[in-house]
């Protein structure tokens, strides 16, 4: 297989930002979004979107692991024996995830604690494995990096959108790494202080993440008709 791919994929030189390569960046944002269209990486999207700061950190971690994984596997694509390619990919991803985990533990232990096992579980994030299998194994490092950035961004914007909705409605606050959580609603609005408002507790529970992702898919499909299946 390795010889085959190297022969099949020997196109004429093209610039890194050719039209085809630019599509690698933009496609995952909408038409082939990893979460809303391919429905990959859902578990982490549901689990860590209670606060925006966790979503930001998670997105950065996935971005790092994806770029690293895609580029490394792409560079090694011609020397990886076909039969053990999954194991090789796993080793690459796992080492990168361990780096991320250790860095997080060292520099922001509280967020690391909130993300708990989900940093470790990046290893099993289907988006990363999927891109390695589907793209990095058959393409040069340059396009592989663009593909990684595109997919990580597609993952990130959904995560941030869901986290934003959930945090604003569920906690009446907004947070960002380094700043912490800022409650922007006046305390006197809340019922406990004689006001009229109450935070929506359901937004903090996982089912609402699922419903929020569903609503995003709904909006996306109503705007982008090409995504609707024919039946």
């Amino acid at each position: 297989m390795s010889t085959e791919t190297s022969i099949a994929l020997e196109p004429k030189r093209e610039s890194l930002f050719s039209k085809k390569n630019r599509k690698l960046l933009t496609d995952p944002l909408d038409d082939s979004n990893p979460i809303t269209v391919q429905v990959l990486g859902i578990c982490s999207a549901l689990a860590i979107t209670v606060q925006v700061q966790q979503a930001v950190i998670m997105s950065l971690a996935v971005l790092f692991v994806m770029i690293g994984g895609n580029v490394i596997v792409s560079m090694m694509r011609n020397i990886i024996p076909d039969r053990i390619r999954i194991i090789v990919q796993l080793v690459v991803i796992a080492s990168l995830v361990i780096i991320v985990d250790e860095v997080l533990k060292a520099y922001s232990p509280d967020i690391s604690e909130k993300l708990s096992v989900f940093v470790g579980l990046i290893i099993t994030n289907c988006i990363i494995m999927g891109r390695l299998e589907a793209f990095a194994l058959g393409n040069k490092p340059g396009p592989a990096m663009l593909d990684a950035v595109g997919n990580a961004m597609g993952y990130a914007w959904i995560l941030l959108a869901v986290a934003f909705v959930r945090e604003v409605l569920g906690s009446g606050a907004i947070s960002f790494p380094g700043i912490g959580q800022v409650k922007f609603l006046p305390e006197s609005w809340f019922m406990a202080n004689g006001g009229f408002y109450e935070n929506n507790n359901l937004m903090i529970l996982p089912p609402m993440a699922l419903i929020t992702v569903g609503v995003i898919i709904w909006i996306q499909r109503s705007r982008n008709r090409s995504l609707i299946e024919e039946n």
């Binding site: 009229f196 109450e198 929506n200 507790n201 569903g214």
Partner: protein, 417 residues
């Protein structure tokens, strides 16, 4: 009547049809017109003999069936209000201050109904306008059910949010009226239950009275607590059967107590707007069954399911909650209201006759089970019906499969013979 019809046909209708000025609002006009007059269309092909009862009339009959519960609930709110103030005692409960009670109740109930209908119908109109189809009548019943199962003092904006959520997520997403998997009104309540648990816990009933009591500006009548029957009973879970807490709570459920069997059956106890009265729900049930709209199979098997679970709990008797008699158990809380108006929702219930028996029986069983086992969910009926809504297609599937297999067997046996 003829003059009105003529006026609408000649003056109003042209504005909405063809190139009329208001043709964008045709769906609105159409739905309002069919409310006033039977539509003039005739069947052009297929079967020509039709029942005169269409969706609008079905829905309207359900609302009529709800009226006893609504009227009693309105009176009961006022009743509980004056009871908590100590203005009346239970002895002269029925005769005293009848109009005052109705007035207090109406002040609470009418805004709830208005908000529910305004939000729900607003969304229906907008979606019908976007999709260009006519407005369905499905919300008529949901819009009335939602205020009836709300706690009395729930803030109106919460009702609006919950209604919007239920109509969008439980109904429109699945394709509108007739396509929903879950009961719309119960989805609204479940949303509030999880989103704003403090307002829905069944602990605070007449909020402003309780609030002023806490602030020390008001003296409450002796022995009056704002908690509902199920809220009280939840306190006994985890307590010894004959312990102090259990004994205190159970005395309220004995004859002559606040939650005695008669009080629970008639409904003169604190609770959500219209759920307290088992009697009113049963009157509604009689009307629904008589007109053939509600399934008697579901209603009766639901109640039987509740009774069976009550008997099992009686036999176990692990805490005071379990020792409540099965009949007393099913007339408390929203059980009867749920059995009559929620479980029978023809869209989300099981469709096959055998399936209806299973669906109702398990619904009743789970209602009592959830309410007793998990004191954090005082109203098990809501959870049980929503759960059975999800299971209904599976039940139907196995009923149909079983039927096919039986007929197949019969056929092959006949062929052999």
């Amino acid at each position: 009547m003829k003059a009105l019809h003529k006026l609408i046909e000649e003056r109003v209708k042209p504005n909405f049809t063809g190139d009329g000025k208001l043709k964008r609002f045709w769906v609105v006009f159409d739905s309002l017109e069919t409310f006033l007059f039977t539509p003039g269309h005739t069947t052009s092909k297929g079967v020509h003999v039709r029942d005169g009862i269409d969706l609008k009339r079905t829905m309207f009959l359900v609302i009529v069936a709800m009226l006893p519960a609504l009227l009693f609930g309105t009176w009961n709110i006022g009743h509980q209000y004056y009871l908590s103030l100590g203005d009346i005692t239970t002895a002269d409960a029925w005769s005293a201050m009848f109009l005052d009670k109705i007035l207090v109740g109406a002040i609470k109930v009418v805004p709830l109904i208005v908000v529910s209908y305004a939000t729900g119908l607003g969304i229906e109109f907008i979606i019908a306008g976007i999709n260009g189809h006519s407005i369905n009548e499905g919300f008529l019943v949901s819009g009335m059910l939602i205020p009836l199962i709300m706690p009395v003092d729930v803030p109106l904006w919460m009702v609006a949010v919950a209604t919007a959520f239920a109509v969008m997520i439980a109904k429109e997403v699945f394709g509108g009226t007739g396509m929903n998997i879950l009961n719309v009104a119960l989805t609204a309540r479940a949303f509030l239950f999880f989103a704003y648990p403090k307002q829905m816990s069944g602990e605070i009933w007449i909020h402003n009275v309780m609030g002023s009591k806490a602030a020390g500006t008001l003296q409450m009548a002796d022995g009056y607590t704002g908690a509902t029957a199920l809220g009280q009973l939840a306190n006994t879970v985890g307590q010894p059967v004959n312990g102090e807490v259990s004994a205190g709570v159970m005395s309220m459920f004995a004859d002559g107590g606040m939650f005695s069997f008669m009080n629970c059956f008639i409904g003169t106890i604190p609770g959500s707007v219209a759920e307290t009265s088992a009697l009113a729900a049963l009157i509604g049930a009689a009307l629904l069954i008589w007109t053939g709209i509600g399934s008697w199979r579901i209603i009766s098997s639901f109640i039987v399911g509740g009774l069976v679970m009550g008997v099992i709990f009686n036999a176990l008797g692990l805490n005071a909650y379990m020792t409540i008699g099965p009949v007393h158990q099913v007339v408390m809380g929203g059980f009867m209201f749920g059995a009559v108006f929620m479980a029978t929702d023809p869209v989300s219930a099981a469709q096959t006759n055998t399936g209806k028996w299973v669906y109702g029986f398990l619904g009743g069983l789970f209602s009592i089970m959830i309410r007793v086992f998990n004191p954090a969910y005082p109203e098990g009926v809501m959870m049980a019906i929503l759960f059975m809504n999800v299971m209904a297609p599976t039940i139907d599937h196995y009923v149909i499969e079983g039927n096919i297999r039986r007929r197949e067997k019969r056929m092959t046996q006949a062929a052999i013979a």
